[in-house]
């Protein structure tokens, strides 16, 4: 695998919605690099014909009857939100700036 760069770390931070300062980018570049180096050990295995395990029990499409069930109380849920109004969650503008 190619070596992880500071630019890679800065890019991943943006994808993950995290803001890192220069010292954090330096530390993560080194630390993530060393974890990825251990992951490279897996390259020693012949995995071409191995089927990936996505789930320990191999469950697929667990369904339930399409019947309305009791649900959480809306007001109780909204009471836990940082901001709510008229039965909805409130956020700053999605486009432009406040």
């Amino acid at each position: 695998m190619s070596k992880l760069s500071r630019d890679d770390v800065a890019h991943v931070a943006r994808l993950a919605m995290l803001e890192l300062d220069d010292a954090e980018i330096d530390a993560f570049t080194e630390q993530l690099g060393s974890v990825l180096a251990t992951a490279d050990d897996m390259a020693a295995l012949d995995l071409d014909s191995v089927v990936p395990a996505h789930h320990p029990l191999g469950l697929v499409n667990v369904m339930r009857p399409d019947v309305v069930q009791p649900s959480l109380d809306r007001d109780e849920v909204l009471a836990q939100a940082p901001a709510a109004e008229d039965g909805r969650f409130c956020v700053p503008p999605a486009l432009g700036e406040q």
Partner: protein, 488 residues
């Protein structure tokens, strides 16, 4: 530095439930006694993020009234229980030991919390953990570390360190933890208590705040194997609210405890007991071998078995778990619950909230997982890890063709000093080297205390079993526990 450990101080789950049911003790007196012990020693241990003393007394009084009225309160009548603070408790703050859930009170109970309450158990508090269960020492908590009750300058293990410490300190005879890569078994080993990671899907995860969804399992900490069996009988079984919950049943575990191990085939995992995996201490290996001898003396046959791909468990896990975590933790964005740090637009608010709310280890894992899933790297990292997972499961299945249960260390060492492994994440990750393979395969395993190391601190032996193999695992654990009592 000495400790305050006294697992026996809390009494056993079954003794308390019997005494309360028979009217020999009131639930209120039980709860008062445990809260008094918490008052005396919690300052030194810091097992709890929150002690719910008033609610516990009120619940106990209600149970006493129901008993007085002749009602059947359930198999855990009056038993004080501590709940890891990543399981939802209705109206009671649930933090995951993270600042990002500051002030959040879940509007519902986790299924396990509901089942314990229905069985008559009484919650006395929420226990400390590594933030979002990411860690092996409980030092990654936003609220400060938990101390090992046996020796206070040592870690209790993690991530369920608060739950393990609560039982070891005698605060409660029972607590619940969650195990994604060893987070029940490793702290159980370091704190000298029994800890169980059930088969994936055997216990409902509804209301467990997700870390690695294909790996997470809830299980008990207790002082005895029988108490863990009793707890599993209460919390296990299908739950329609968890789509990954198994519809199969292995039946009552209390009923299998006296079956013994006569004729049972016990396999020592050679990679974990013979130097292939580095860093496993000699005193730990000595106790695992002693456990094998004890089982042999009780009628089992013991042999060595190789699980070759288990050496790739650690790298596979540190791709799969962070990848799933990066996805699961995307929901903490300042919109629906917990911390919000305002910004000029939605995206800026998300980023500001997450940056302020998550601690360094959680950020590290989110970064790692996001990278492992990102374009161009997904196949090499996440894809390979999922294939290694298949190999590990196949290796275990081969081992179980010749053996009924397997033995291994639970933790490579006894409890280490606070601060000893915080500088280098990779060193900390190595704590999980013996426990991770069971999470990747979904198979059950548990840690049973079996003596102490050169430093006098507890050592647990790990018993592993095939999928839904809890009965054979528990019958082995019961024999090991008896052998330990006979020896001491």
């Amino acid at each position: 530095m000495s400790g305050v450990a006294s697992p026996a101080a809390a009494g056993s789950v079954s003794d308390i439930a019997n005494a309360v049911t028979n009217g020999e003790r009131s639930a209120v007196s039980v709860v008062d006694a445990h809260l008094a012990r918490i008052d005396d020693h919690e300052g030194a241990v810091h097992a709890f993020n929150l002690v719910t003393a008033d609610a516990a007394r009120a619940t106990a009084a209600a149970i006493d009234e129901r008993l007085a009225a002749g009602e059947d309160v359930g198999p855990l009548a009056g038993v004080p229980v501590a709940i890891k603070d990543n399981m939802c408790t209705r109206g009671v703050p649930t933090t995951c030991s993270s600042k990002i859930l500051d002030g959040w009170r879940p509007p519902y109970d986790a299924t396990v919390v509901e089942r314990l309450a229905s069985a008559g158990a009484i919650m006395v508090g929420k226990t400390n953990l590594d933030e979002f269960a990411m860690g092996s020492s409980t030092e990654n908590s936003a609220f400060g570390p938990t101390h090992n009750p046996w020796q206070l300058d040592r870690v209790p293990g993690g991530s369920s360190g608060g739950s393990a410490a609560a039982v070891a300190a005698g605060f409660t005879p029972l607590s619940l933890g969650s195990d994604t890569g060893g987070s029940i078994r490793q702290p159980a080993s370091l704190c000298g208590v029994v800890g169980v990671k059930p088969t994936y899907g055997a216990v409902s995860r509804y209301g467990l705040i997700a870390f690695g969804s294909s790996l997470d399992q809830i299980g008990p900490f207790t002082t005895t194997v029988a108490d863990s069996a009793l707890t599993m009988d209460v919390i296990g079984g299908h739950d329609p609210r968890d789509a990954t919950s198994s519809t199969e049943s292995f039946g009552s575990l209390v009923d299998v405890l006296d079956r013994g191990v006569d004729g049972l085939r016990v396999g020592l995992i050679s990679e974990m007991t013979g130097g292939v995996i580095d860093g496993i201490a000699e005193d730990v290996l000595a106790r695992v071998r002693a456990a094998a001898e004890a089982l042999e003396a009780a009628g089992a046959t013991v042999g060595e078995v190789s699980v070759p791909s288990s050496v790739y468990g650690l790298p596979a896990y540190y791709m799969v778990a962070p990848a799933e975590a990066s996805s699961n933790l995307a929901r903490f964005d300042g919109v629906r619950y917990g911390l919000r740090v305002d910004g000029p637009n939605t995206a800026a608010m998300h980023t500001a909230s997450r940056t302020a709310g998550f601690g360094p280890e959680v950020k590290r894992r989110i970064m790692l997982g996001t990278y492992a899933l990102s374009a161009g790297y997904r196949d090499a990292y996440y894809g390979s890890a999922q294939k290694v997972r298949t190999l590990i499961t196949q290796d275990f299945d081969r081992a179980y063709a010749d053996f009924d249960v397997l033995l291994a260390p639970s933790s490579p060492t006894t409890a280490f000093e606070l601060g000893a492994k915080t500088a280098d994440p990779l060193t900390m990750y190595l704590n999980d080297v013996c426990t991770i393979p069971s999470n990747l395969s979904g198979q059950p395993s548990m840690s049973v205390p079996f003596g102490v190391g050169d430093d006098g601190l507890p050592i647990g032996v790990q018993i592993l079993a095939p999928l839904m193999g809890e009965p054979v695992m528990f019958q082995t654990a019961a024999v090991l526990e008896n052998a330990q009592e006979d020896a001491s």
